[in-house]
């Protein structure tokens, strides 16, 4: 298998879902079972992805395979290229995307069975997979942006899939527009990059930066560029303050939530940040870390009180993504990616599990109406539980490893820079995560059924739905990543597959511990835990065990608290909520973000647009048009604006010229002698005018 072969297969992986999309969409009306074609395509894609991953990780593990073609050119010097960059992260992500996508396809076969637009749904899944693969495969930021937007489009289509529901179409619109806010920043960043480096390619950009070429020749603009690009991630990964769209996105079909809003699309932001990691300066990273921290914390507090099964998971997703972003901000490059992958599997599992529950409960999503489902849905319960353990960071799960790495990094970061806030929030969120996840599990699956009727009718989902759960739950076990259940550092995932990040931001702009010093192995592509400087390595070593223990303790206490509250009911939850009512309401209402945005940005824009519309119809159409300011001004003062306002040039000109004409016609009296008087006076006036 040559590198060209890998490229070709990657091409196939990219375009097969597109083919599926086109065929399914166009023939959807004619052929009822065309969705099977899409499912088949995705299966093929999955195998191709596995194959590529296998080849790459086995034979080309140290290589970065790059292929470029020219897309279009504007002049001899300006040409825009498209291309692939296939490194280990790429193939792993490809695998993740293909796998989850395929599983979601299978799951949907049953879940979406009764939908009138069944085929279209699969078509949309196809284009999503295509777009996501594009993001993963690209070697340049422009193509990233292109697929980025396409992902946004697929997300829009899928969230609003049940567009007859106003809430669904609202949510789709909201998702798209909120994402666009971030995208504008990213777009601006891309423009700056291209203008500086005349290329979109990551590789070339990093080279140029390393060679000392900076945007507008200033560190500040490098930082800004990083932040601007990261704004894309803020939008797509639903980071604070643009996180508001993700919970609403749960209006889409649940498998979609699993695919897009848990595992893949929202991970794209993190993936983007990983890709541009090399150009981030310390300031930019700090910014990222703070955003990540806020995004980890705020949704976690919201998730504590939500009652919609999908909403809890959605906020947990935001929180976990915040975790990853924060981790990147503090330099935990490898663990971020690890957590990304791990999270993709267990969160997909959780969502699909919730889908299974919802399916069984006939589209009931409120957990207060559930309970005791453990017996009715044993397989769902088991897989859900495994995933919950993983997300809570209980040992033997993938989550334990990834989370532990991140927490250790935050610990190390604290010790190196004296900035402990990230560590504190990290642990706090770990606690909260364990708590709300187990709250969810307990209320849903344990205890007594609350809605007896629905409970009676609930039964375990069919095989196509359960099978994906099992696969995903399986992938949440540590063994796929590392042989050591307690330390992942030596495992193949961390040490073999993931190379150290290549830093190209100028030395003086980095964190101290990331600076190139003598003896540090910065650019060493060899594997291992050493990523930055000696001091960092030491700090990591030192942080590892305390962090692990503390994390474990917190996770377990979170679990314990959940059991106390909900399983054993030792503490009356209602009383407690009454006691901290303001806080509870605040959390229940999601910190009032939606209301705030509605009142400010949305209302502001719409109000402003109305103003402009009015302004345009009345004022511009008047003033420009020569509608005399004076009349207008006077009419404003007299408060009779609307009546007096004349719409437009024509009316006004007619009015004005009519007025002039009126004066003129006054003198055309029809009496010839009057005319003659005027003539005499005219001659007199002329005489005085021209007598000099």
């Amino acid at each position: 298998m040559t590198e060209t072969g890998i490229i070709n297969i990657s091409l196939a992986i990219l375009f097969l879902p597109l083919l599926g999309f086109i065929v399914t969409l166009l023939l959807g009306k004619k052929i009822k079972s065309i969705y099977l074609f899409e499912v088949f395509i995705l299966t093929v894609t999955l195998f191709a992805a596995i194959f590529v991953a296998f080849i790459k990780l086995s034979y080309y593990v140290d290589d970065r395979i790059i292929a470029e073609i020219q897309w279009f050119k504007l002049s001899e010097t300006i040409s825009i290229k498209l291309g692939f960059l296939i490194d280990n992260m790429t193939v792993i992500m490809l695998f993740v995307v293909a796998l989850i996508s395929a599983l979601v396809h299978y799951f949907s076969i049953a879940y979406m069975k009764d939908d009138p637009r069944y085929n279209r749904y699969f078509a949309y899944l196809g284009i999503f997979t295509f777009s996501m693969n594009g993001i993963v495969l690209t070697n340049n930021i422009l193509m990233m942006y292109i697929f980025w937007e396409l992902v946004g489009l697929s997300s829009y289509l899928l969230i609003g899939f049940w567009f007859e529901k106003k809430s669904a179409s609202d949510a789709g619109k909201k998702a798209f527009i909120v994402n666009r806010v971030g995208d504008i920043g990213m777009f601006a960043g891309i423009l700056i990059l291209f203008l500086t480096y005349n290329t979109f390619s990551f590789e070339s950009i990093f080279h140029s930066i390393a060679a000392g070429k900076l945007p507008f020749n200033s560190d500040f603009w490098l930082t800004m560029t990083g932040i601007l690009l990261f704004m894309g991630a803020i939008g797509k990964s639903a980071q604070f303050p643009l996180h508001v769209w993700l919970p609403d996105a749960m209006e889409g079909p649940t498998p979609v939530s699993a695919l897009i809003h848990a595992a893949t699309m929202v991970a794209a932001g993190v993936y983007l940040t990983i890709r541009i990691f090399g150009l981030l300066t310390a300031d930019a990273m700090m910014f990222i870390a703070i955003i990540g921290m806020l995004s980890a914390f705020i949704p976690a507090t919201i998730a504590l009180t939500q009652n919609d099964i999908k909403k809890v998971l959605a906020y947990s997703t935001v929180s976990q993504l915040g975790y990853m972003v924060m981790a990147l901000g503090i330099g935990a490059y490898k663990f971020t990616f690890f957590h990304l992958v791990a999270h993709a599997f267990f969160k997909a599992c959780l969502f699909l599990g919730s889908g299974s529950v919802i399916y069984a409960m006939h589209h009931e999503q409120d957990i207060r109406n559930m309970g005791g489902l453990r017996k009715k849905l044993p397989l769902t319960y088991a897989t859900f539980l495994i995933a919950t353990l993983a997300i809570s960071g209980i040992p033997l799960t993938s989550g334990f490893h990834s989370k532990d790495g991140i927490l250790a990094s935050s610990f190390a970061f604290g010790s190196l820079t004296g900035n402990w806030i990230f560590a504190i929030v990290g642990f706090l969120v770990a606690l909260m995560t364990a708590f709300y996840m187990f709250r969810l599990v307990i209320i849903t699956f344990h205890g007594q059924p609350r809605d007896q009727h629905k409970y009676e009718h609930a039964k375990e989902s069919p095989f196509v739905m359960v099978m994906p759960l099992i696969v995903l739950a399986g992938l949440s076990i540590f063994i796929f990543y590392t042989p050591n259940p307690l330390n992942a550092d030596e495992g193949w995932f961390i040490s073999k597959w993931l190379p150290a990040p290549v830093l190209s931001a100028p030395n003086n702009t980095r964190f101290d511990f990331m600076q190139e010093t003598a003896g540090a192995v910065t650019h060493n592509p060899s594997h291992g835990t050493i990523t930055y400087s000696e001091s960092y390595t030491e700090a990591m070593h030192g942080a590892h065990n305390p962090a692990m223990i503390l994390a474990l303790v917190l996770a377990l206490s979170g679990m314990l608290l959940a059991y106390i509250f909900y399983q054993w009911k030792k503490i009356n939850v209602d009383k407690l909520t009454q006691a901290i009512k303001p806080l509870y309401t605040f959390s229940l209402n999601k910190w009032y973000f939606d209301e705030l945005y509605d009142k400010t940005f949305v209302a502001g824009t719409i109000g402003f647009s109305k103003l402009i519309g009015w302004f345009d119809a009345k004022i511009v159409d008047g003033i420009i048009n020569g509608a005399g300011n004076l009349t207008r001004l006077l009419s404003v003062f007299t408060g009779a604006f609307d009546r007096i306002v004349i719409d437009g040039i024509v009316n006004f000109a007619a009015y004005l010229s009519g007025f002039i004409g009126l004066i003129f016609r006054r003198i055309q009296t029809g009496k010839v002698q009057t005319y003659l008087i005027l003539v005499i006076f005219s001659i007199i006036i002329l005489l005085f005018l021209f007598n000099d």
Binding site: Q673, T674, I677, I680, F681, I683, I684, L687
Partner: protein
Amino acid sequence: MYDIIFYLFAAVTLVSAFFVVTNRNVVYSAFFLLFTFFGIAGIYVLLGADFVAVVQVIVYVGGILILLLFGVMLTNKITNVEIKTGTINILPAAIGVGIFAGVLLAALINSDWKTLPAGKPLPTTALLGSMLIQDYLLVFELLGIILLIALIGAASIARREKV
């Protein structure tokens, strides 16, 4: 003597002209116009334009004035002695004409005319006659056409329309 005669004629001319334009009775106006024309004829004589003076009397007094009187008679009932008509626009007309006359007068009087002492009046008729058929033959002919047109036009308007 010359001066006195001038003033006499000037006074006749202007006073009767004033009555022409102010008198309310059309017939009176017409008769005042007669005096005006005579006065002007006198002035012509004073200026040594004998032939013109004669033509003035013949054409104006003999022709135009009679024509106007006919007009007056035809447009009023003969029995109505009080053939009065009103006036309009007096104030603006007075102001306008007043200013105009003032300016004109001031300008004319203050102008530096290249005057020569008036020569001894000579008979003009023969010379006028030869000018008329030599230098100004074209104008003369043109006047012929004008008169023809006037004839046709007046006849055209005045004649009874066959219905």
